[in-house]
Amino acid sequence: MIYALVWLAILALGMALVAAARGVPRSLVQWMVLAGEGAIVGMLAAGIVVGLSCGADSRNAVEHGLPWMFGLMAIVVLLAWRTRRASLVNSVGVAERSAGGPERHTRLIVCFVIALIALHLLPLLVELLLRPVFPWDAWAAWMIKPKAWYLGGHFDAFVDPATWITSADILRTTPAFRYPELSSWLQLLLADGYGEWNEPMVLVPWAVLFVGLLLAMYGLSRRLGSSTTVAVIACYALASMPLIDAHIALAGYLDLWIGAVILLSLGAWLEWRRQPQRRGLLVLAFALAWSLVLLKQEGAIWLLVLIAVGVYGQLGAVWQRRDLWFAASTLVLLVLMVLVFHGWINDRLAGIDVPGIGVLQLGWYPGGLTLITALFQHDDWHLLGLTLLLVPIVRWRNLCADREAQLLGLFLLAGWIALLLLFCFTPAAKWAESQTATNRLVMQLVPTMVLWLILLLRPSSLPSRV
């Protein structure tokens, strides 16, 4: 009962926050965006509230967190109510403008695709709800803190082993002591809501994330001008990818969370660019981008990339060209320096130990290229690799004419360059060779890749060459 109440509070808080930013929904598509984004934003917000409100008492997260969640929700609803005139301005996307319901064959396709999505969702739920926490990092890193806090009853700080062993204070340590704690706070709330440490019950957020991501993908695709059929196919494409499904069935990793939050942040930002008077969208985009840092360490990199692309998007054409030239020449220079002078550079970097990478030894690590070949090598992404290769070619003219697709493409390009720099020029290449991290890092970009493809497939006003 309390567990259900906790979920109600999470979803209501999230939907209130999103409604305050986006405005009161006035169509089915807007309701779907609100539900999808609301679920994800609600989970993030609930985690932050618990982290801030519990003090030292980690055993009563519901008692501490729920009043704050409802209080925050009331304030947000009040603010939204006061500004309802502005928020009621409807932002109808191109595809939303079509009058009347979808045609019969469209309805059939949509029903078929929804049935396919359900075929994926059901086994994932069964797996998630039956099995104790399974994958390595879930129990070796991410779930240690919430379990220790919930069962220990005290919000002990996690520190490095040297501090832990020498300190007289009650501290804790774990190999993953540096990991951000947002997901742990959320799991703590759910464990307290359920009344015991029940692993499937604290992993339910992964299923909610999955459904929220699909709803948000549908809503964003539609609002950015896709047809119902294409938007629902985008959802199916995401739901059908084996590695994404594995991250729901064997829940506990945060890579899909990062991927979903990046998508929502970019989606809100693109919508804000269409309606600059709706500053709530920009706040939502930035808040989501900032939450990346609270989810995973690499969230800081994505935050920087998002900010860089955001700033770039606001520049005038001349400055954008200069900016691109500067970025490209800096990149080429850096790569050349590493390739030619890596010995000299490494002498000066000697002893720098980067967490997760090891001693920094720059150079050319060809094993890092498995990042790209892995798109085709394993059964992880179905035909996403081929689609990414061919769709930009066949829709090149659309890409050249579509500002939103260009900006999203720029973000993806920057993301891929960041990953390639990491895996091809640093000792992190070992993770690429063993393929333990590369596919998961690629997953963080996959929802945005799908949205980008959807933007490229939007109906075009350009004349076609038959």
Binding site: T173, A246, H382, V394
Partner: protein, 412 residues
């Protein structure tokens, strides 16, 4: 997209269409042959086959009995493993590289491996994990195994609970080994092995959140790469031979990607359904308290719970250092022992600048090389000497507490 479908395409002659069909079929055949590891001049059917009935195998571990021509396996042996083998003569690896195996009612909770010995190294046993056999005759291409060469002297099978996944308490279900065939390479054999590789059941593993294929599992080129190449060749031949222009090429691309995606997804859904069925067999209908104990490393869970009980009974909040012969087991022990305030021993020793505080617990689980001398009260390992008193010794689980002894009450 419907707009694309209704576009009128330019006509192309029947001759060019025929040429396109032939070129496409040839390209796809070459692709399939490449994926299956066969060349254009390989025979269609195997030229020689060595056949063994299941009943020809002898049981090395576990229990069973002949059942007609098959071998019924009714029990497992040590470590819940069953092993059967047969001595062979005149079996050249290179000439008998396609393994076909037929099992009956083989449970999904078990992993199947093929074992063999070579005449040139009779003491070395080579073991290769095989795709789950399913209900039909399964196949595996042994040319992918570098050790499969020279003269083979013994072959057999090993069956054990799927590692990392299936709890050891899962009841054993009997099954039958019907037959083994070792054939010379051929198109049919290669394609059978490829079918097994692409569509056969592969259980969840710890790697599954990083990639869909186990890193140590021998795999053929993926269906994804073959489909991708097939679609690209189709577009290329279409453009070259029947002059597909932009709209036609786009339409064909959309159709091909949709078809390919659905094919891959049907394969994945079948895989997912089998994995969930396995999970259902093990966990369905059980309470959380029962399910949480159904883990593949239940021995670690039991030891951690025992240690937790003992340390929780000690007044105060002593620090606990956990060590095991395997890092995975040490971390699992740590996780299962929560909320005990513990750390892994090795990282702490690496940063230790002063003696460990008295009262600190040391837990050694399933680890060799650590000795305790009651006379000197020294717990020692290479490079480590700690003054401690024994707190518990249950074989694989040993607990010590840092002395001086005078400050510590009697151990339980």
């Amino acid at each position: 997209m419907p707009k694309l479908i209704t576009t009128k395409f330019p006509p192309s002659s029947n001759g060019r269409r025929l040429l396109f069909a032939v070129a496409l079929a040839a390209s796809w055949l070459i692709l399939l042959g490449w994926a299956a590891g066969v060349s254009w001049n390989s025979p269609l059917k195997p030229q020689e086959t060595q056949h063994f009935d299941g009943a020809q195998l002898r049981i090395v571990m576990g229990g069973g009995a002949e059942d007609g021509n098959a071998l019924q396996i009714g029990a497992v042996g040590e470590q819940r493993t069953a092993l059967q083998s047969v001595l062979v003569t005149n079996l050249r690896a290179e000439d008998n590289a396609i393994l076909r195996y037929r099992f009956d009612q083989f449970p999904r909770t078990l992993e199947l491996a093929f074992l063999f010995r070579r005449s040139d190294a009779p003491d070395d046993v080579h073991v290769v994990t095989l795709p789950w056999p399913g209900t039909l005759q399964a196949a595996f291409d042994l040319r992918d195994v570098p050790e499969w060469r020279g003269e083979i002297s013994e072959i057999g099978f090993v069956e054990s609970p799927t590692p990392q996944l299936i709890p050891t308490q899962t009841p054993f279900a009997p099954f039958r080994i019907v037959s083994i065939d070792l054939s010379s390479p051929s198109w049919l054999g290669g394609l059978r092995a490829l079918r097994q590789d692409w569509f056969g059941y592969r259980p969840w593993g710890l790697y599954a959140v990083s990639m869909e294929s186990a890193p140590d599992m021998i795999r053929r080129p993926s269906l994804i790469i073959v489909l991708s190449a097939a679609i690209i060749t189709m577009l290329a031949w279409g453009a070259l031979l029947i002059g597909w222009r932009e709209q036609r090429a786009k339409f064909m691309l959309v159709v091909a990607i949709a078809f390919g995606w659905l094919l891959l997804d049907a394969t994945w859904l079948s895989q997912l359904q089998k994995r969930v069925t396995t999970t259902w067999q093990v966990y369905a209908g059980k309470s959380w308290d029962e399910r949480r104990k159904l883990v593949p490393d239940d021995d670690v869970l039991r030891a951690a719970e025992r240690a937790k009980k003992i340390i929780a009974a000690v007044p105060g909040t002593p620090k606990v250092l956990v060590h095991s012969g395997s890092v995975v087991e040490a971390v699992r022990f740590y996780y299962q022992m929560l909320p005990i305030n513990a750390a892994l021993l090795v990282p702490v020793l690496a940063v230790l600048r002063a003696p460990l505080a008295e009262g600190t617990f040391i837990i050694l689980y399933d680890v060799d090389g650590w000795d305790y001398s009651a006379k000197t009260r020294q717990l020692t390992a290479p490079g480590v000497a700690l003054t401690a008193v024994p707190w518990l010794d249950e074989g694989t689980l040993r607990i010590f507490r840092i002395a001086p002894v005078s400050t510590i009450s009697d151990a339980p």
